[in-house]
Symmetry: C2
């Protein structure tokens, strides 16, 4: 077998983030559920944007953020996701391609605009997300390029893809193609409420189709409907080849069969936690596809997450390669 | 006379900034003149954007940034400038209106897109700007609302307006309306090369039409074609009622007739100097229109500038009111 063209191909909702600093009062007065992601329609997005303070726009999307981090580390990434041919779609395309990521999903030529995620960052650095899926609902199985999937060591899927109906079909097709080509399938559970919406299907995926699972503590508790981390960890054990469970300031735990690693967090000064989990997954998958062991891969994940949360926005603001090399040396 | 509705109305190019961290090599290989603003056409903007790293988008424009700072301090601001009815134009409108600034210039319904300024931020926190003026070229005298000008204590104009031909007419009309209503006219010289392009006209403006002048050291040296700051300062003395001259890490000097104030800089950790001068002008005009003396107004200008350069982007990322009150207490 020749060397694969890509280390990881990510499939996800292609979203531009609209970020504003916000006081806690705003969340309360607008019934926003702190720390989570809620789907909203275009009208609600318009009204909420009217009430939102001055914002900045930057490319986001969970799997896209992970692939951006992987590329910034020097990994070979590809991304599949749907934007419209509008200014935000063009910015999304620019930001990921300029990192060297292969992104060739055709733009939607009509219909709703590129997806936006209104992100309210509170003084505690927590982020609360309200997503208008926009053109993401147009992503379907036809957008999944068989050649790309077959030529990537890992196909990485975000749980959020389970929300737009056609994207779920793309998800299933990609997972099947990857396994048919003897590649690995990775899934991020994305959000505890997203797990709640699709628990039965996610359990089936984790039991039978996912090789590498990413989840934070809330998500894995939600998946197994248990109350403590250790219980959830025992449940996931044996179901996926690898489960990487993030615990915010408590670090992460990686489980693979009998192998268990408890990894300390990296030092961080949180400004905006948007993208922390995405960064961890991108760093971990970079390590794994470079052939590093699980503990080192988890450490790279933690280093990337700590960089991402140190500034506003979900993606690294400077190249990650040197940062990680320095931290590991 | 009833109390004016506005403290300051700004007239300027309405621009969305596209900011990326860049190495010095990039400037050299693309013949970019560090620390300055260069006008580029749509094709050049497209090519340069292709080469630019991952970016974030945030509202900019010199006078618009100043008015945003004034509003964030609690001042009553208005802004006149032209965007198109596209996604970037909508973001520009949102970001300034949400601060409470009156912004009612009609959107351009056709023609070129909203203006973009590609900003390359080097590791020394210096910014190098390449501006595609886009819809700004559509701003003309008809967009200058006589009622707004007459009802603002100060009409604040950016020197960059001298670049698009029709905007110059808007500039001249606004200055005349302001003086006819016994209001004050303020000008920022914007950029040393902008001064070079329009020196004779700027000298005429400063000599006969401007009450409050803002310039940084390079700009005032360029205006009078002299080599040292003191020489420039002696030249400007007596021409405007007030000249506020900024000197970066050396602080600022304010001259008004026989009154001269030399103001120390505020402590700052520069990350991105984009908008430093705009912030100073916004803070200074806020102080002045609140009835504070020149020294206190200059100090507020310095505090705002130090806040703005502490993060990526030209506008404050948190409300300025408390910051300034705390710094002055």
């Amino acid at each position: 077998m020749t060397e694969p063209r890509f280390d990881v191909v990510g499939i996800g909702n292609a979203i531009v983030d609209v970020l504003a600093q916000t006081e806690d009062d705003f969340l309360a007065s607008h019934d926003l559920n702190k720390g989570t992601m809620t789907l909203i329609d275009a009208d609600t997005a318009g009204k909420l944007y009217d009430d939102m303070g001055p914002a900045i726009e930057c490319s986001g999307g969970s799997a896209a953020n992970s692939i951006a981090c992987l590329a910034s580390l020097g990994g070979k990434g590809a991304f599949i996701g749907k934007v419209r041919d509008d200014q935000l779609g063009e910015a999304f395309r620019h930001d990921i391609q300029t990192l060297g990521v292969a992104f060739d999903t055709p733009f939607a030529k009509d219909g709703v605009s590129t997806a936006r995620c209104l992100i309210f960052v509170t003084p505690d650095a927590q982020r609360t997300m309200q997503t208008f899926l926009g053109a993401c609902v147009e992503l379907g199985p036809d957008d999944v390029d068989e050649g790309v999937i077959a030529d990537a060591q890992v196909t990485y899927l975000e749980g959020y893809l389970w929300d737009p109906p056609k994207a779920k079909e793309a998800f299933v097709k990609a997972a099947k193609l990857a396994h048919d080509a003897d590649r690995q399938v990775s899934l991020s559970l994305s959000d505890p409420f997203c797990v709640g919406r699709h628990r039965a299907e996610f359990l089936d995926l984790v039991n039978d189709h996912v090789d590498i699972l990413f989840a934070n503590e809330e998500e894995i508790l939600s998946l197994y409907e248990v109350d403590d981390f250790d219980a959830a960890m025992q449940k996931v054990r044996g179901h996926c080849k690898i489960a990487a469970l993030t615990r915010g300031p408590k670090g992460s735990v990686v489980i693979s069969g009998d192998e268990v690693h408890v990894i300390d967090p990296e030092p961080a000064t949180p400004v905006d936690t948007t993208g922390a989990g995405d960064g961890y997954a991108g760093g971990f998958l970079y390590g794994l596809t470079q052939g590093f062991d699980l503990a080192k891969s988890a450490r790279i994940g933690g280093i990337v997450a700590s960089q991402v949360i140190g500034h506003v926005g979900a993606r690294p603001d400077i190249p990650l390669k040197n940062i990680v090399e320095k931290a590991l040396s």
